[in-house]
């Protein structure tokens, strides 16, 4: 039997745990997995593109456990009542090859993306940062805000979205939670005075939600939305002004903001910063850019965090997904009744 966390159980687990504690726990798990980067079997995610979206598989293994996520990205889904991103994930035992956990991962992905952003900002953002600008207040926005409060103490938000309704929803969700929120009238107004700039928009296009003139020395840019070939958010002129930090270069080169740059443009791998083997922020004037695309190890970390968190609880059910004949070499015995001798008719 395989443990199964459906949407109701995920909701129940997260509400009981608390979003900020869950994000903090996932962030520490991601950091600890990035620090043992060399232990992992890594691969760029496998994407299947169609005219209106993408479906991706994201596997990773540390040699003891194997995990993968299925995730889609369909920016036109909300217009017909569906979500842009949905996901589910599986954890398996490398020793036997048998799956051990199957879980909804739409909610868990929101947590892990936010956890990764905040974990990275903790090492790259200005130490005295108090204010974050957010361009794009869709489904990921609230989780980003909570992650940055949980890990960095950020409680001042300056928000902007081209869709006023998305801003309404964000404000309604977040006002009761103790944030100081400025609703801007433009991206430029949102960004003014912020120490951290988070861009998180869904349009699958080479968009420019942040222009070069909006970016002043010293800021940390948390660029989340550019995560697919042909999908970027930043004015390409911003990039050479800063130091660029990435998850897994073979994937980011084709999916991230740096798809706009020469393939040789210098970048720094985050795992090296976390291990102290590469520099992160080195001056108050430095512009740091986290060119986030989302990497499979982050999902692996979220899966193993969840697996440990639900152990011994009732936040899961069990599903019978592994055929187990009494004799492992006699699979046929399970279905022998479906075979018959030819009739003599």
């Amino acid at each position: 039997m395989v443990r199964f966390v459906d949407v109701p159980n995920m909701r129940r687990w997260l509400i009981d745990t608390g979003i900020e504690p869950a994000i903090s726990g996932i962030a520490e798990t991601i950091a600890s997995d990035f620090i043992r980067w060399q232990d992992f079997d890594k691969t760029a995610r496998v994407a299947s593109h169609s005219d209106i979206g993408v479906i991706e598989l994201m596997p990773a293994s540390d040699g003891r456990q194997y995990g993968f996520k299925y995730v889609n990205g369909h920016p036109s889904n909300p217009a017909r009542g569906m979500q842009t991103v949905t996901a589910f994930g599986v954890l398996a035992d490398v020793d036997s090859g048998y799956p051990t956990l199957w879980t909804e991962m739409t909610i868990l992905t929101a947590l892990r993306t936010a956890a990764t952003s905040a974990m990275v900002a903790r090492v790259l953002a200005p130490a005295d940062a108090t204010t974050m600008a957010m361009i794009g207040t869709g489904s990921q926005a609230e989780f980003q805000a909570l992650a940055f409060r949980a890990l960095l103490g950020i409680d001042r938000l300056r928000v902007w979205d081209t869709d006023p309704r998305a801003l309404d929803v964000f404000e309604e969700n977040m006002r009761p939670l103790g944030f100081d929120i400025l609703r801007a009238n433009s991206a430029a107004e949102a960004v003014a005075g912020a120490h951290i700039i988070t861009t998180c928009t869904a349009d699958k296009a080479n968009a420019t939600v942040l222009t070069d003139d909006m970016v002043v020395p010293g800021v940390h840019i948390n660029a989340i939305g550019g995560d697919c070939p042909g999908k970027t958010e930043l004015d390409a002129r911003i990039l050479p002004r800063g130091d660029i930090f990435v998850e897994y270069p073979p994937q980011t080169r084709i999916e991230g903001e740096i798809q706009q740059l020469d393939a040789e443009h210098p970048i720094t791998e985050l795992w090296q910063v976390l291990r102290g083997e590469a520099a992160g922020r080195t001056s108050d004037e430095q512009i740091t850019v986290f060119d986030s695309v989302g990497f499979a190890i982050e999902d692996f970390s979220a899966l193993r965090y969840l697996a440990a968190a639900i152990d011994g609880t009732d936040y899961f059910t069990e599903v019978d997904i592994i055929a187990e004949p009494a004799d492992p070499k006699n699979l046929f015995a399970l279905v022998a009744q479906g075979a018959a001798a030819p009739s003599l008719a």
Copy 2:
């Protein structure tokens, strides 16, 4: 909600349907999908290897539906009561990116592998074939035998395995089903006089279960077990004597029997034979080799066959794996109770 076929429902469906009818249906679906080969987004499977096994993801899409299979291969599993191969699969809607079906696929893989072998043999084996030698009578063997009877009318089997217990199990399973079975004392004895030779062994090694001297002109070789880098079954000298037919060259070159040959050695793609664009068997003396490794389109075909077969039946349940907030841009609303303002304590 996503349809879910667990092991009990798969068994019930297969027993009620009958193994031979199910294999025939899957074989026709695979053939029809191979014939529209150019419609598919294809990729070699993504493998994660460990010292004792492999875990693979096998995606394929025809632009309308997307499918993938998770499958492991752990040859040492049976010694500890577990199966060498287990699998599950998912079908999804390309237009929305939402999954539509989640199913056990250990049993379904056994059906699709057998269906593929027989479908291929139907175009490559001698027209008057009545007798098949089988080297390796593990979990796949009974399904192979039933597939060759269903599609080619083969009812004489000459079987050999290094494990006498595997032969016992096979004989017990198959004798009641109307087959004429000769239990051989060696691979050479099994092969003598057979029109078709099926090799299906699990050892992850460059093994030689079929030697050059055992192969006479005119036979069709259905080589199933060599399906992984470092895992082969055929004496390399057999290969240049025959015409070699493969599923998807980029995958077979690294996984199949032809990993033993020069990367330029000529091969024929099966889809071209099925479309009449390349020759299959052209003479009575020709040795034909199906260098089978298992390709994602076969799983896709099996998934879509199953999805159609269970529609309107009770062979599935439903699972709540897609988080669906009332407002698709407000995922946070599903878990807002898990967020709280900082306490004033």
